[in-house]
């Protein structure tokens, strides 16, 4: 399974839980790729080749778009809603998603718990 993770603090906080979930639950078959900014992904139309997309709301300062914009762009390209997961340490994220006119996206909150991450990937 191929997973794109838009996250600017990937190595410091997110990489290990993904690796651990891959080892424990997916026989280490998850192909996880990190993109610290929106532009680091390049042409977003390629997103269709990923099975899951995790998006942190606060991307790096250098990022042209924040997490909400990335989610909007991907949805515009016809990417399935159920395969987008918001990754955040912010409180009250669900109301913010509604404020931004986004559909009811899945959310994994930080600090990450392995079972929550596994459920989101499944």
């Amino acid at each position: 399974m191929k997973i794109a993770v838009f996250e600017n603090e990937y190595d410091a906080a997110v990489k290990t839980p993904f690796q651990a979930v891959s080892i424990i639950y997916f026989s280490n078959t998850l192909q996880i790729e990190n993109f610290p900014s929106s532009q680091s992904f390049g042409d977003l139309s390629r997103i269709i080749s990923y099975d899951r997309v995790f998006i942190d709301i606060d991307l790096s300062r250098n990022s042209e778009k924040d997490g909400f914009d990335v989610a909007k762009e991907i949805l515009k390209l016809g990417y399935p809603v159920s395969q987008i997961i918001i990754l955040t340490g912010h409180l009250g994220i669900n109301s913010k998603i509604i404020e931004k006119d986004l559909p009811n996206l899945k959310v994994v909150t930080k600090p990450i718990f392995l079972d929550d991450l596994k459920k989101a990937i499944e």
Binding site: A20, I24, N28, G89, P111
Partner: protein, 558 residues
């Protein structure tokens, strides 16, 4: 209409009535003192008809004033018909309305010169004198007219004061008008130019108030919307104004246009000095300007007072906003720290997650792959914990805490009593239910307090009473074991009074451990406990027949 004008109109109406009584008595004396052409009952009948017509015309306005005048002179003509006008008694009757002309009772104020009055008086004299008319009487009438004009000007001066002070009254009547002092200057200019045509000759068309700041002038308020102004050599003008009552400035620029006829006046306020610029129209009578400056000066001082009160309020508002801003920063900072902690805690939760899963996994391959991850996450977690603790301390920093009472100082129990009574009254609770047994010496004694924080406590206590009381609420000022005590008492409906929640609240509130009350969701009690503790006020909640909140103060001097 200004109050003084209203009063003036009422007095003129009364005088008008009294004047007719005087006319009737005077006419009686004239009839008694002269030989009469008609029998006595003609004069009596004429007097009755005269008075009835007067009563009919009395409360009417506009041209009825002229009818009243005609009625007067028709009566005089009948009384004096066939009598000589060469004695003062008889002639005096004809002159009475002229002498009384400033008491003209119409809604409109008396004119400076009433041509109809003098013409009617003259015609009446002509009619009564026939061929013997003494034309020198015209000079007497003219002299009376001149005296009346003098009196008119004197009355106008009083009216001038009434008008300009009325402008200030209007400013306060309309609204609090905070931040709109320019309206006050507008009112003054409007009152002076619109209400009285004769004032136009010497009153300003615009008034601007400048504040003296760093040796120069900055606009404080103006009757005219000003975008730019240019006053030549401001600093030396200000220096000159400190020595002279006013200075005429031949030319300055307002809104890029020449203002030619300006007078500058310096007024000293409590906080600063102010310079008024009175801009006069080109045809203004400049020799009257010094008189105007003298008259208007007390008013300009009043406007400065309004400006300074407004400035104080603005300053207070800014201070309050700054205080709120620091609290907002605290909240914002807390949210950021929590977000930061959520991110930073991931290595710790992942480490413990992996350790607990490791114990349950039997697959050797998985365990082999997981072991190095656990090891590296363990090191990462140890590094992260220091960071997490540092950030947590940031939130607990006392100086940032919104509950922190910044300053405490000595405050009298009289002030505390006033604060409680004020809040009680402001919240529409019955002030008759305030009972005090504090003595004079208690009121004079002091305790340490922050008035703002104490007001917050009071608001919370009274809010709570208003929310829960059923039939009565009361506050008592007592002395218990030498300490001044305030006891707030209110009844609560029986089921609530006996509820375990309320008992738990009282237990937590009264407990020595402040954390217990901090855990609660009821922000009000947390608030009360936090603030009173910092102000060294002991507190207790007692629940027996009623609900009671008790504040126990310590006295700093006796």
């Amino acid at each position: 209409m200004y109050i003084l004008e209203e009063l003036d109109l009422k007095v003129r109406k009364i005088i008008s009535f009294a004047f007719r009584i005087v006319v009737l008595l005077y006419a009686f004396i004239v009839v008694k003192a002269n030989e009469n052409l008609f029998p006595w009952y003609v004069y009596l009948g004429a007097s009755v008809i005269y008075f009835i017509i007067f009563r009919y015309l009395y409360s009417k306005d506009k041209y009825y004033a002229h009818l009243r005048l005609l009625n007067d002179y028709a009566f005089f003509a009948l009384i004096l018909y066939g009598k000589e006008l060469d004695n003062l008694l008889n002639l005096g009757l004809l002159l009475l309305p002229i002498v009384n002309s400033l008491n003209h009772s119409s809604y409109r104020r008396p004119p400076i010169f009433s041509l109809p009055l003098y013409i009617v008086a003259l015609l009446c004299m002509l009619f009564l004198s026939k061929q013997d008319f003494d034309y020198s009487a015209i000079f007497a009438l003219l002299a009376l007219a001149v005296i009346n004009i003098f009196s008119y000007f004197r009355a106008s001066l009083i009216r001038f004061h009434s008008v300009i002070h009325g402008a200030i009254d209007k400013f306060y009547e309309e609204n609090l008008n905070l931040g709109k002092t320019y309206l006050l200057l507008n009112n003054i200019v409007n009152a002076l130019t619109k209400h009285e045509p004769y004032f136009k000759a010497f009153v300003p068309s615009e008034i601007t108030c400048f504040k003296v700041k760093n040796g120069g002038l900055s606009i404080a308020a103006s009757s005219l919307f000003i975008t730019t102004f240019q006053i030549p050599d401001e600093a030396s003008l200000i220096r000159k104004l400190r020595k002279e009552p006013f200075i005429k400035v031949p030319k300055l620029y307002i809104n890029d246009a020449e203002a030619l006829n300006c007078v500058l006046i310096l007024v000293k306020g409590n906080q600063a000095q102010y310079v008024y610029c009175l801009q006069f129209p080109p045809n203004s009578l400049s020799f009257l300007h010094s008189l105007l400056v003298k008259n208007i000066n007390p008013l300009l001082h009043k406007v400065v007072k309004v400006l300074e009160v407004e400035y104080d309020l603005k300053l207070q508002r800014r201070l309050s906003l700054n205080k709120i801003k620091s609290k907002l920063h605290y909240v914002d900072n807390t949210v950021k720290v929590i977000h930061y902690l959520n991110n930073k805690l991931t290595p710790i939760t992942t480490y413990f997650d992996m350790v607990s899963k490791y114990d349950t996994i039997r697959d050797a391959t998985i365990l082999e792959q997981l072991a190095p991850l656990i090891e590296s996450e363990k090191k990462k977690s140890a590094r992260v914990i220091k960071d997490v603790i540092g950030r947590a301390h940031m939130i607990l920093d006392k100086s940032l805490n919104p509950y922190f009472v910044e300053e405490i100082y000595d405050e009298s129990f009289r002030r505390i009593f006033e604060l409680v009574r004020g809040s009680w009254d402001d919240n529409d609770l019955d002030v008759k239910n305030i009972e005090t047994s504090w003595s004079k010496s208690t009121y004079e004694a002091k305790t340490i307090l922050n008035v703002d924080s104490f007001q917050f406590v009071l608001d919370e206590v009274i809010d709570n009473i208003k929310k829960h009381y059923h039939k009565f609420a009361k506050v008592e000022f007592l002395i218990i074991e030498g300490n001044p005590v305030i006891r707030f008492i209110n009844d609560i409906k029986a089921p609530t009074l006996k509820s375990s929640n309320l008992k738990k609240l009282a237990r937590d509130f009264n407990g020595a451990e402040i954390n217990e009350i901090m855990k609660r969701n009821s922000h009000g009690t947390t608030f009360i406990k936090q603030y009173t503790t910092q102000m060294n006020i002991k507190t207790a909640i007692r629940i027996e027949a009623n609900f009671e909140i008790i504040l126990i103060f310590s006295v700093t001097n006796s």
